[in-house]
Symmetry: C2
Subunit: 244 residues, 2 copies
DNA sequence: GCTTGACAAATAATCGATTATTTTGATACT
DNA sequence: AGTATCAAAATAATCGATTATTTGTCAAGC
């Protein structure tokens, strides 16, 4: 059953480009574990649906149960880990239905958040968008170099979160961040490259331009299409490669 | 997501109304603590914003740190507890801004979920709504008897969740359940009685009727108004009694 | 008077060991 | 052969004690 090779937990790398904003470097072991595990799951290093054996994980990470459970608990909040009393933890499975729900909810929530951001965002918010856009468009994804993929993923996530960061609704931002996590896992697991008929950089630019120009309908429609296309794209890959 | 999560009115009434298919409940100490703490927070027994001292809590509940942290971790997922590395836990604060966000998001998400439920729900879903409505309307809230308030709250929550239970979107249901929790805390903390110009029972009936009649626009509009009125009502009480 | 630093108390985080539950596997029985 | 039963192994949950960090206090120095 336990087809996920736990020995692959070994070479996990921390301290990536997304290392932190307010990170004092004084994190607890539980926090560090949460980060490492999150990255391992989103990157596909830990197979979707696989069981997480506490004892093996404990040895792999050289930690005790307490911080391990602590870290796993946070991933449950993120929707990346499932838990059952007395039966332990497992990596949240992926499925067509889940992908479609994530896409659908992103269309609903992220667009709503963008609408609110355009209504409420200030000049600093606009500036943050342009900066995030610029950094994203400046970064190329080179399938041959995995570190560029990770870099792009981090900046892409940053761009989308920045877009909606002006909405003034912390809970909504939390939901969107969570959905983005789930979505990114599908991309990193299934999608190396965007389909040829898309110019994703162009799409991002249009959304950003519409946002800072305060053109609600334009920006929201562009964002919705962007999310929808990504969903369709991912769905095709998922159907092609099959579900693990 | 949530493993064992149900209307758990801990010490008082057992054999609750919920028809349990997932009778997981209360296996581990951590689960029990999560339920007790959730109830304590939503009921206002634990003051919003107050610090949760692990050592005192450990003694209060006669448990060790491990299950205590376990339970608290779940409440973080619920948005009822906040956490900071090395600084421990505190009950999530309440505020006007938070209440308005909760109301706003409920209008957005719960209505969306109802729309999807009407589109996808089957006959069993319809039946569940009518049952939940009946039981809710049969239960009177008597301010003199707190147990009737708790009972009503449980049935009210059950009704709203049943309404949207046909949407086929587990994540969306999770979000809505979470928002309902947060919303109910405001009502219970501020010991609300509905304002005289409202007939809440009537409102519930109209929503339910519209739902089972598959009248999307009618049902959704009624639900939105219902949520909005509740929000306004709570806001007035919050403003009157002041924010802690 | 105010800040700074050292120290002590309070509190949180982690560990190693123990207890409880689930799963596995062998055996006996129909 | 299939199934029920029970013990052993695997795994999860919990505990008590220890370590690490933060917070509070007070005296020295500016």
């Amino acid at each position: 059953m336990d087809s996920a090779d736990d020995s692959s937990l070994g070479p996990l790398t921390e301290g990536g480009p997304s290392a932190g904003f307010l990170d004092d470097g004084k994190n607890t072991i539980g926090s560090q574990l949460a980060s490492r595990l999150r990255e391992a799951i989103i990157s596909g290093e830990l197979e979707a649906g696989s069981k997480i054996n506490l004892d093996k994980a404990r040895k792999t990470f050289n930690v005790s149960l307490s911080p391990l459970r602590e870290g796993l608990a946070r991933l449950i909040s993120d929707g990346l880990v499932e838990f059952q009393d007395n039966r332990g933890y497992r990596v949240a499975p992926i499925s067509l239905a889940n992908l479609e729900e994530v896409t659908s909810l992103r269309e609903e929530l992220e667009v709503f958040a963008l609408r609110e951001s355009i209504r409420l965002g200030d000049v600093e918010w606009e500036g943050n968008i342009m900066r995030a856009l610029h950094r994203l468009n400046r970064t190329e994804r080179d399938a041959a170099r995995p570190e560029t993929l990770e870099q792009w993923e981090a900046l892409h996530r940053e761009f989308h979160l920045t877009l909606i960061s002006g909405c003034g609704k912390p809970l909504l931002l939390h939901f969107c961040s969570l959905l983005l996590n789930l979505n990114d896992r599908y991309r990193r697991v299934f999608l190396i490259r965007t389909s040829g008929d898309r110019n994703v950089g162009q799409e991002h630019s249009e959304i950003a331009q519409g946002a800072v120009a305060r053109d609600v309908d334009y920006a929201c429609e562009k964002l919705r299409q962007h999310i929808h296309r990504t969903g369709t794209n991912l769905r095709n890959h998922l159907a092609t490669k099959g579900i693990a």
